[in-house]
């Protein structure tokens, strides 16, 4: 962030915390002025927070997203949350399709539907959703894959209703995760077999932390395709599939409130 700026004279003094900083990304050993933080550290924090907030509040740019799809068909839908402010207060509305949008999804017969949802970080979806979808199309040559659905003001469970409307036996929700100060563009992927409206989170499998400095798109695609083949074979997702996964497939399930976050 400050690389291209003129360094201030004080930064020339050797920093006794330099070695310790190799051990953790935590903001340790921040200097003091009186009891307060130094100017650069205050601004650095504010810059990270600004990036995280922008990730939450910037609308998904659908034009750019679909531009990279070429001639491929796609659907755009929105949830019952009409705007971001409502979306943040009413997770229940983000889990259901706007009725008019639902009517635009024709019933078909598909092995799987992929949904690119904005979630809590449009930056993440903008960055990784199409490339993951492309990677998965290559991996799933023998599957019938429904046209991509782009969903705004979306929570994870919105994918369930989308799958029901389209007649898909499995849904992959690619969705922006709640941004942190250090990573604002992390995407999560939720796989659900036999989804229905009201489907519990315990019947999903999740890959998280997909971003350039976390899990890469090719790594996510490899794990996801293993999961999808096993899910089709076992006819389930969730805890049962997690238990069957080999070591290399690191899986997460939802964690309880106050232990972590519950933004699904």
């Amino acid at each position: 962030m400050t690389d291209d700026r003129i360094t201030s004279p004080t930064s020339q003094i050797p920093d006794p915390w330099q070695d310790l900083r190799q051990l953790t990304r935590a903001r340790i050993g921040l200097g003091r002025t009186g009891n307060g933080l130094k100017t650069n550290d205050v601004l650095d924090f504010q810059a990270s927070h600004a990036q995280a907030r922008d990730a939450v509040h910037t609308p998904l740019n659908i034009e750019i997203l679909t531009g990279s799809l070429g001639d491929e068909p796609y659907y755009c839908v929105q949830s019952r949350a009409p705007d971001r402010s409502t979306y943040l207060r009413r997770p229940d509305l983000g889990r259901r399709l706007d009725p008019e949008a639902a009517a635009t999804l024709p019933k078909g017969d598909w092995d799987v539907v992929f949904v690119a949802g904005d979630g809590l970080s449009s930056f993440a979806t903008q960055q990784s959703a199409i490339s993951l979808f492309r990677a998965m199309q290559a991996q799933l040559a023998d599957w019938t894959v429904a046209p991509l659905v782009i969903a705004t003001q979306a929570r994870v469970a919105l994918g369930d209703e989308i799958a029901v409307m389209l007649g898909a036996r499995m849904v992959v929700m690619m969705i922006g995760e709640r941004p942190g100060l250090s990573v604002a563009d992390s995407m999560g992927v939720y796989l659900t077999y036999g989804p229905y409206v009201g489907c519990p989170d315990s019947s999903r499998n999740c890959l998280s932390n997909i971003h350039p400095h976390g899990m890469t798109v090719p790594a996510a695609a490899a794990k996801l395709s293993w999961l999808m083949r096993e899910a089709r074979h076992l006819k389930l997702t969730g805890v049962g599939l997690k238990d069957a996964a080999p070591e290399v497939v690191t899986l997460e399930t939802s964690v309880p409130l106050l232990e972590k976050d519950n933004d699904q």
Partner: protein, 460 residues
């Protein structure tokens, strides 16, 4: 029984006591999400008038959640101390507010009624109190607890040092712990939220913390915030458990959602007492709470989120905790939308807990999708400091890299101590002084580089 009030020509009715309580609550997104909030500001104030006229003793014969259906209700009713209640037994909720603020309600008087106050009484009166009222009354209440130091003394503000790491890396955690200790943090507890919630991981983290504590003879306590059943197993295996942590809520069903029961808490409490590791006292429990927990577990029984939260303090006080804190802004904007709601909730939680005799601290915090920022936390910490909060949580640079939310920095807490002339727990202050980290005469934590202290060898 229905309640009603005519306000400026308009008559409002409230079907039952829990509806009255919910409609009287200051606005917050969680009650709106639950469909319990007042539909207009006028209705909210009408509910407050009706609530103010309600005799306090109503709460002793009218339960919000049925006695038969909920063990927290049974705990509240079965442990109510009628004698302690007697000085305020004839008051209405409004009269109770006036009494709490009066000079008659001294620290001693407030302590003596604690066992007679139910969470619902505390929640009810809080709903007709402004923020300054909540602070003024809280400030008068002293709840002192002890393990290896003394928490809650007049003029003191303790801190929890929270050195979390996304992969529980021992050296990374040690580096953050060192940072905090050099800034004078950690007298309430050095407490890690583990990324992996398992017995073996908990044992490894506790061993590291206990080793550091013993090596430097730090008069404080350590804790790995793993599930209570893991901690019981860790104790069975001879692990270095000072405090038993558990997240708790205000209904039986919500506690079941956390995987706990009053019986499990009792078992853990008794097991920790037999370890006898405290040197000054034997308060061995640590609880975390937060508004919205019950609703998110679909276990709120139609009761507003602040009242359900207050019921969690009845659970806490049954086990004589050393520390309790509300994780107030952690839950997200669907429960507390913005800085105003977070600040109000924190002051309510602190007041209700203290009124019940619970040693309440706070994690003054927010997530990136809430309408809040560090300025809101600055406001909140000063308000809580003025209200006599037992302890606050500090993380390096206010940025928790494991849980991905923002709390207070060590710098923030030093600034707060200076601003309000608050000191660390006396035993801990003495230790900081012996380590050359604290100028007690000027009440100043010195800025010492890690290499120039014995503590610097901690991360080797």
């Amino acid at each position: 029984m229905a309640y009603g009030c005519t306000l400026r020509g308009e008559h409002y009715t409230f079907g039952d006591l829990k509806t009255l309580m919910a409609k009287a609550s200051p606005a917050r997104s969680g009650d709106e999400l639950a469909g319990l909030a007042a539909s207009s500001d006028a209705q909210r104030i009408a509910a407050r008038y009706a609530l103010a006229d309600l005799p306090l003793r109503t709460f002793l014969h009218e339960t919000l959640i049925p006695y038969e259906a909920d063990d927290v209700t049974r705990l509240i009713m079965d442990t109510h101390d009628a004698q302690a209640f007697s000085p305020v037994a004839s008051l209405t909720v409004g009269g109770f507010r006036d009494w709490l603020l009066s000079d008659e309600a001294t620290s001693e008087a407030l302590s003596s009624i604690a066992a007679g106050i139910t969470p619902e009484m505390a929640a009810a009166v809080s709903k007709i109190m402004r923020n300054q009222d909540l602070m003024t009354v809280s400030r008068k209440i002293r709840v002192v607890t002890k393990f290896r130091n003394t928490i809650g003394l007049e003029g003191c503000l303790a801190t929890r040092l929270q050195p979390n790491h996304p992969t529980d890396d021992l050296k990374g955690i040690a580096a953050s712990t060192l940072d905090g200790l050099l800034r004078g943090m950690g007298d309430a507890v050095i407490g890690i939220n583990p990324a992996t919630d398992s017995v073996s991981n908990g044992l490894a983290l506790l061993e590291m913390l206990d080793h550091a504590r013993q090596r430097y003879d730090i008069p404080t306590q350590t804790c790995v915030l793993t599930h209570v059943t893991n901690t019981i197993e860790i104790m069975n295996r001879g692990g270095a458990v000072d405090l038993v942590l558990q997240s708790i809520a205000g209904t039986q069903k919500a506690n079941e959602g956390f995987g706990v029961s009053l019986g499990i808490l009792k078992e853990a409490h008794e097991a920790a007492l037999t370890l006898n590791r405290g040197t000054l006292g034997n308060n061995v429990m640590y609880f975390e709470t937060g508004q919205g927990a019950a609703l998110s577990a679909e276990a709120n029984h139609g009761v507003d989120q602040q009242t359900v939260e207050a019921r969690a303090y009845a659970v806490a006080r049954a086990y004589n905790p050393l520390l309790v804190n509300t994780v107030v802004g952690f839950i997200g904007p669907e429960y507390l939308y913005d800085g105003k709601q977070i600040i109000r909730a924190a002051l309510e939680d602190h007041f209700c807990a203290k009124l019940l005799g619970v040693p309440m601290g706070c994690d003054a915090c927010y997530t990136n999708h809430a309408e809040a920022d560090q300025d809101d936390m600055d406001n909140l910490m000063v308000l809580l400091g003025a209200a006599g909060i037992t302890f606050l949580i500090g993380v390096p640079g206010a940025d928790d890299i494991m849980l991905n939310y923002q709390s207070l920095s060590f710098h923030d807490l030093l600034s707060l101590r200076k601003l309000l002339n608050l000191k660390p727990a006396p035993e801990f202050a003495g230790w900081l002084e012996r380590m050359g980290l604290y100028d007690a005469r000027n009440d100043k934590v010195l800025d010492v580089p890690p290499g120039q202290t014995l503590l610097g060898q901690m991360v080797r």
